[in-house]
Symmetry: C2
Subunit: 112 residues, 2 copies
DNA sequence: GATATATATTTAGGTAGTCTAGGCATAGGA
DNA sequence: TCCTATGCCTAGACTACCTAAATATATATC
């Protein structure tokens, strides 16, 4: 994925929302999801494989995403995930939670 | 502290910064630190005692804060914490990390 | 043909930090 | 006297993340 130097404990809880967001506009395979997050955050968020794949299984087990094996445009075997209806609801909830949470923290932590 | 209904895994990693911030303008005892955080975040962040006190010991062990037993203005025994120099440095670092991290997440997660 | 690299997935085991759920003690008010 | 809010402590569970390894293959390069 990347050289990576641990992204502090701050990622906790946000990975799932980021994954779901990456699927909001159509299916993507796991590896591409990780890339999308890293690209979108300018590498501020490092997505470790040992975090990403377990997160995908978790979310699949909860019915937030669904998987299907397919072929990438570069002709490689990959597992494509897509958001379920339930996942879309979750994304909305978690996005709102993030907004409220980050605003609250920033209000306290950052200089007025 | 409060009725409390778990504040999701999002708190992970930010509690220490919030604690240090609460001490930036002078010593406070543990219970008051928790109150300060809850008040300052409008109860968005619920500070459980089982999270707070272990965090305080951790931070004391790392030399970020120092403790001293004292008396509250309501005449009760309490342990007062204050930021060390090292703690002040940590607070700066963690505040910057939070700013970068939350901006990155929000950029990806929140509607443009 | 051989080798290297980027892509793509899997998983075991460790770690860190939070929460649950209890405990104790006391000041002040009803 | 009892209740509530204040104030601290801690064992054990849980969850999610990370480390570190393994596997497989398409494509480019030598």
């Amino acid at each position: 994925m990347k050289p990576s130097k641990r992204s502090s404990p701050l990622l906790h809880g946000t990975l799932e929302a980021l994954v779901m967001k990456s699927l909001a506009n159509g299916p993507r395979h796991g590896y591409a999801i990780g890339r999308w997050i890293e690209d979108g955050t300018g590498d501020v968020i490092q997505v470790e494989e040992g975090s990403l794949y377990p997160a995908l299984y978790r979310m699949e087990a909860r019915g937030w995403i669904e998987a299907e094996w397919g072929q990438t445009e570069t002709n490689r075997r990959a597992k494509f995930y897509r958001l379920t209806k339930e996942g879309r609801r979750r994304l909305t909830v978690e996005t709102e939670q993030w907004a409220a949470f980050s605003a609250a923290i920033s209000r306290v932590l950052l200089p007025a």
